[in-house]
Amino acid sequence: MDWVNALVQGTLLGGLYALFAAGLSLIFGVMRLVNIAHGELIVLGAYLGLTVVMATGLHPLLALLLVMPAMGAFGYVLQRGILNQTLGDDILPPLLVTFGLSVILQNLFLEGYTADPQKMDAGALEVASVAVGGLSLGVLPLLTFGIAVAVIAVLQFIFYRTPLGRAFRAVSDNQDIAQLMGLNKRHIFGLAMALALVVTAIAGILLGIRTSFDPTAGGARLIYGFEAVIIGGLGNLWGTLAGGVILGVAQTVGAKIDPGWQLLAGHIAFLVVLAVRPNGLFPRVSG
């Protein structure tokens, strides 16, 4: 039963990793931008949530109503004001600029919130559990996984059933020809970053409820996000969810074998997938 418990807990943890990864996958899919600052942006979502909770007394999940639009607006301005200027044939400028952004954000967190670990209080939700088939499942992990599935489903709907999604895919396929259709790629990229940071806001607040975070917490989240995206296959949103689950299960099973192996087991799973299927388990089929 312990092993079944490890598998189930890992699956639920994978929901959070999928949320870390979804924004990363979306941004890479639309504009081929590798966002090194993604981890810090997740932490920014957590700090904004903390600020709203402290200022208003709202429950952290309700704080999402304010943090999501704020992060979306920040994403649009960030993309139009800075990141669009770095996009081109050379892949180095966006890497350097987003790395610089991650350093700036870390230092701003230190200035604004000190180096002390912080956590959001979600009250009874944090300890509530339900018994399922002899297992005791936390309501918060279940909720997180449900939110992850819902977020991926909504992103999938936007990408494949709406004019905005058509525009995302067209710009991703061929920026020049998309411009001929009247699409302003700078605006479309801005919308993609806004959408990615709305998802990142959700990931950040769920992170801040689940565990403590500090100004340096972004690096590990970036790695988990990258690993989930690459395991699942670049450009495949459901694959990203699967990648998150595989990573989560590898970690909990590793921890079951030896508590010291938790993180290492996740990285080993990532390396094995990379060695066997360099394009990930479910790469997007196109062209």
Binding site: R166, A170, A178, Q179, L183, R284
Partner: protein, 234 residues
Amino acid sequence: MPEILTLQRLNAHYGDFQALYGVDMSLEQGEVLAIIGANGAGKTTLLRSVSGLMSNGADQVRYRGQPIGALRADQIAALGIALVPEGRQLFPSLSVEENLLIGGRLKRTGPWNLNTVFELFPVLKERRAFPSTALSGGQQQMVAIGRALMSNPDLILLDEISLGLAPVIIKTIYDALPDIVGEGMSAVIVEQDISKALSVSDRVYCLMEGRVTLESSSKDISREAISHAYFGID
């Protein structure tokens, strides 16, 4: 008829390489212009300059008298200029219908919509849900033309639409051209098949090494004049 497109001493560069040298050209509303020339003559560069894929001096390209040479491609598309690019260049992750719909996203009013494009090319209706990459070259060319028509342009630029297609498909597409450029639409056709280009156009320009070497009515032009302008031989 008023001039719809005017090129004034248009120069175009790819880095240090100059592809067009002071090209002057004009197109009246409702007119069909053919541009012929050998490979590397600058024909595609000229269409890229008009459509905004290459940036130029603002006054070098005028549309209805308005300088557009420095505008972006999306701004030029919104003014009513559509390009059917060389090599089709459909969006591979979009279905046939989605490729057409994204062409119509500007929502300009006019005769073209999904139904009228399907009437023009019925095979596309049968394959509307197919990935665009699953079509034959000729069918992909039909999608590329339909995608441009969906924006209801006032000026359509057609770049080598017969390239790499079977003769029967080329005939189908050229037979459809009168329906396409009816309704008062103007067109610029870049084509290496000289006889095809002359058969559907009112006037013809020949480019050689980035310079205009001939301007003539398509009906009155002689084989000798074309040889001279096209190859530089008498």
